[in-house]
């Protein structure tokens, strides 16, 4: 099974580990991610004001290019997923906008692509039982908090990857690889997102809430599927640690890195060295690395 793949700008650079571990894991469970021959940045934000058509032109271009090579498109980053999926809905459902945008990007794209997140492939196409069967190193006893953030789930009109109020897809994946998912209320609350650029204080607060909520419920490690979430959560821990003496920072990694580990990929290929909060001591302690 070959599935066309859109990496997006961040996965090609600062989050290379996310990309590499995902590709390798895909191979171990029986599918191939085929990077689009030509792609551009999706714009990293879906315009919430409906008159802002120009902001749709970049993601529409991505979609138009992808459609030339297939009927589906997968991606890893939550933001890319949200932007592409919602743009696709506009291209499919809004004739007038479609015509203006197609004119602008000089394409004829009709919204016929289906956008699927990597997690959805694992759940719906591969099946979590097959993932489970492929596990070489079960992550037994690893208390893992799955952080969904906003963009995988909201808004519900375009139905994200799961129920927006009580999603389980991440936890199901964690169970499949033998880890112990930790339920924490803030798993669907915002990390502060792009306010990282203009209002670090606020981001520290929001991401800090996420981290304390996860820690209070016993998480030892966090997995995410968004480089911006990952960055914000990591940053917030410095402030948290200095503000409260008893807070212990924990590693924040991409879910594919954990998946890759369980599927038996060598730990050095998974890109853990890029993390601010090193995962190795924990993995070693648990006998996983």
């Amino acid at each position: 099974m070959k599935i066309p793949y859109y990496p997006g700008c961040t996965l090609n650079t600062v989050s290379k580990g996310f990309d590499l571990s995902a590709r390798a894991s895909a191979r171990s469970v029986g599918f191939e991610m085929e990077e689009l021959a030509q792609w551009n940045c999706c714009g990293a934000t879906f315009p919430l004001s409906p008159d802002n058509l120009i902001a749709l032109s970049a993601p529409a271009k991505v979609l138009a290019n992808a459609r030339k090579g297939g009927e589906e498109l997968t991606t890893l980053c939550s933001v890319c997923y949200n932007v592409l999926k919602r743009t696709n809905a506009v291209m499919k459902g809004d004739k007038e906008k479609r015509s203006v945008i197609n004119g602008f990007i000089n394409e004829e794209y009709d919204g016929s692509l289906s956008i699927i997140h990597y997690l959805e492939i694992l759940r719906d196409k591969v099946g979590f039982d097959k993932v489970k069967a492929a596990v070489k190193k079960p992550l037994t006893g690893l208390k893992t908090g799955a952080y969904y953030g906003c963009m995988l789930l909201r808004p519900f009109e375009d139905r994200g990857i799961d129920d927006s109020e009580r999603p389980v897809i991440f936890e199901d994946m964690l169970k499949a690889v033998g880890a112990e998912p930790v339920e924490f209320p803030n798993k669907i609350e915002c990390c502060g997102a792009h306010l990282a650029m203009s209002n670090t204080g606020l981001v520290t607060k929001l991401s800090g809430n996420v981290m304390t909520s996860a820690a209070d419920n016993g998480a030892e490690i966090i997995v995410t599927s968004c480089p911006l979430c990952q960055y914000n959560l990591e940053q917030s821990q410095t402030a948290l640690a200095s503000a409260t003496g008893d807070y212990k920072p924990m590693p924040i990694i991409y879910f594919t890195q954990l998946l890759g580990l369980a599927l038996g990929q060598p730990v050095e290929t998974l890109g853990f060295e890029k993390n601010v909060w090193d995962a190795m001591p924990l993995l070693k302690k648990k006998g996983l690395a």
């Binding site: 129920d163 109020e165 009580r166 209320p185 209070d216």
Partner: protein, 657 residues
């Protein structure tokens, strides 16, 4: 040669201002068949009617036209007058020269109005000449009533009808009558105990010799029409012989297995052989077959062993009984919207998030906690409770757009009950508006706030989650313009009242209408609030939409009075304007059957002397036909005519224009 009279009314100046009535009369007299005409100031006045009668007699008229106002106004008046003078009432026709002529023309010279009035009257004349005398249809009435649904509305209807000396069959789906009211603890605004006011009525319904109860039963099929319904009722297998069971309860005691109690809404278990609640009427247990090991795999059978009168019958099957009725009352009530729909409120994940009806069970002295407010999770007494109103109601996105009407009141009631039962407990209520417009209702809510310590917060709740064993409720109070966070031990959601699952299929069986929420439609929301478009079928209670007990009871009584009025005569008379099939030309294509909106056309078999079917024919049931004429238009072989408006009459009228 016919002897026709034409009476042209001036209606004071209403007609005369733009129609020269005298001229119309003169013109009409010139036409063949017309032997008498006149115009008159007010035909509908007593002297006018007297004049009409006298003239008919004096001139030996055999039919008349009154050119006056709309037939909706005085057709009845003039037909009566004609009848009094010896005419068949259907030989009296009205030409509408007021609404359809004088009122829409303003030509003061009266030229237009006069010509048009004459044209219209001439058209009526041609139709009238071809009129057959018709006779009112008389239908016998089967004086028995069916009530579907044994909640408070249905019970009230049955009792009132029985009181009037009429036999009633009350069909209830569950093993006991009582409906939702049987679940309630105390009732607003007077706070009487629900069981205490309901059970006497339930027992009365059981003992009244005019009432026959079919519990654990459902309506399977409905045929016929007002006065003459034939209904099939499915009596589901109880596995207990109703006639012999003494209600001793030995079987329940000895049954070794449990299952979730539907009546207690997941808060308690009951035995496999059970009655839903202690005061059930009838007090005859049923066996929950899917969960019974004896029925499923022939293991156990303890109940049969202990039953003295030997009434347990594991082989019992559903029974279909057929009964006849003259009228049907539908009182099938409401359900609550499934809590699961509200993920943000933690339902399903957090055990101590419950709905209002579950709270009623906790507060009820016959409930699973004996009336003590205890959390479902660990049985602890909650020190603070958050009540969330409008859950699913007034929510276009995830619920329904309407207001459920009773939850503002019952939430106030809940805070009072809680305050009375748990001293020092704190209640919070998130509301958007407080809707309590009934008699003594506003005072009731104020009492909850001012005397019973309920903290009302104006805003919705966004999220409910658990933290360190407590429930965190995150809401807003728009009056203080702030986000609010409350640590609570329990959350009670006032979920929307919705129609019963399957309400639509029952409506289809009955031929009554329902709205997009599957609540049944009344004939007219203001003036005919308990009737349906189908004559002889009436509605009571919450099957029509959310309402409280006083309203449900009032409607139950209202339907009873409708039924008693209907049954006060031995026969019903109906207008004879019905469709008639030409037996020679009908080729049984059944287009009319499909077209008829009232299902009034049947497929009739014509048999020879040997009793063999020789051909099929459409046959109009006069009891059901409303005279709408749709079948006439649908029939391709022109085999249907509407009496009083036959094709011949209509074409003749048009040709006369």
């Amino acid at each position: 040669m016919p002897r026709i009279g034409v009476f042209v009314c001036q209606c004071g100046n209403n007609i005369a201002a733009t129609v020269d009535t005298k001229k119309v009369a003169e013109e009409m007299l010139k036409l063949p068949g017309v032997v008498y005409t006149c115009d008159y100031k007010f035909m509908c006045s007593s002297p006018g009617q007297e004049m009409l009668k006298q003239t008919i007699k004096d001139n030996k008229l055999d039919s008349i036209i009154v050119a006056a106002c709309s037939p909706h106004m005085h057709e009845k008046t003039f037909r009566k007058a004609g009848e009094a003078a010896g005419l068949n009432p259907y030989r009296v026709e009205i030409t509408n020269i007021r609404e359809q002529c004088s009122w829409v023309h303003h030509d003061k010279t009266r030229a237009v109005g006069t010509v048009k009035s004459t044209d219209l009257t001439r058209m009526t004349l041609e139709r009238l000449k071809r009129n057959q005398p018709l006779n009112k249809i008389k239908i016998p009435i089967k004086k028995r009533a069916l009530v579907i649904g044994g909640g408070i509305a249905g019970i009230q209807a049955a009792l009132d009808i029985a009181e009037g000396g009429i036999e009633v069959v009350l069909v209830e789906r569950e093993p006991s009558i009582g409906g939702n009211m049987a679940r309630l603890s105390e009732t607003f605004p007077t706070m009487d105990c629900s069981q205490c006011i309901l059970t006497p009525k339930m027992v009365e319904a059981e003992l009244n010799e005019n009432i026959k109860l079919y519990t654990y039963s459902e309506v399977e099929k409905v045929d016929g029409y007002i006065g003459n319904f034939t209904v099939q009722i499915r009596k589901k297998a109880r596995y207990v012989d109703e006639d012999r069971c003494t209600g001793c309860g030995e079987c329940i005691e000895k049954c070794p297995f449990n299952a979730e109690s539907k009546f207690e809404l997941g808060l308690a278990k009951r035995k496999i052989i059970y009655t839903p609640f202690p005061q059930s009427v009838p007090n005859i247990p049923v066996i929950d077959a899917p969960n019974c090991p004896k029925i499923q795999k022939d293991k156990c059978g303890a109940c049969a062993v202990v039953c003295g009168p030997k009434c347990i019958d594991f082989k019992q099957e559903d029974k279909i009984v057929t009964e006849e009725f003259g009228a049907i009352i539908v009182a099938t009530g409401y359900d609550l919207m499934p809590n699961e729909r509200f993920g943000e409120y933690g339902y399903g994940r957090i055990k101590d998030v419950i709905n209002g009806m579950q709270f009623e069970r906790l507060a009820s002295s016959s409930g699973p906690t004996g009336g003590e407010i205890r959390r479902p999770s660990d049985g602890k007494v909650p020190q603070s409770i958050v009540f969330i109103q409008c859950v699913g109601s007034r929510d276009e996105q995830k619920g329904v757009s309407y207001c459920s009407k009773v939850c503002c009141m019952y939430t106030a009631k809940h805070t009072m009950l809680y305050n009375h039962k748990v001293h020092g407990g704190k209640s919070y209520v998130f509301y958007m508006d407080i809707r309590c417009a009934g008699k003594r209702y506003e005072e009731f809510v104020r009492r909850a706030i001012e005397h019973d310590g309920a903290m009302y917060l104006r805003g919705r709740v966004s999220r409910v989650y658990e933290k360190d064993g407590r429930i965190i409720v995150q809401g807003a109070d728009t009056l203080s313009n702030s986000q609010v966070e409350i640590e609570a031990d329990m959350v009670v959601m006032a979920t929307a009242l919705v129609s019963r699952p399957g309400a639509d299929s029952l409506a289809q069986k009955l031929g009554i209408g329902y709205d997009k929420y599957k609540f049944y439609n009344e004939y007219h929301p203001k003036l005919r609030p308990v009737e349906t478009v189908t004559a002889g079928i009436f509605l009571a209670g919450t099957c029509m939409g959310p309402m409280d007990i006083p309203d449900s009871v009032a409607q139950g009584s209202a339907t009873a009075s409708k039924v008693l009025a209907l049954f006060s005569a031995n026969e019903m008379t109906r207008e004879p304007i019905t469709a008639l099939v030409n037996k020679v030309t009908c080729n049984a294509c059944w287009d009319c059957v499909t077209a008829c909106p009232y299902s009034a056309i049947e497929r009739d078999a014509v048999k020879n002397r040997q009793g063999e079917v020789v051909r099929l024919l459409a046959k109009v049931n006069e009891g059901v036909c409303q005279g709408c004429g749709v079948c006439v238009a649908a029939c391709r072989s022109k085999s249907i005519d509407l009496k009083g408006y036959t094709d011949e009459q209509v074409f003749a009228a048009l040709a006369a224009f």
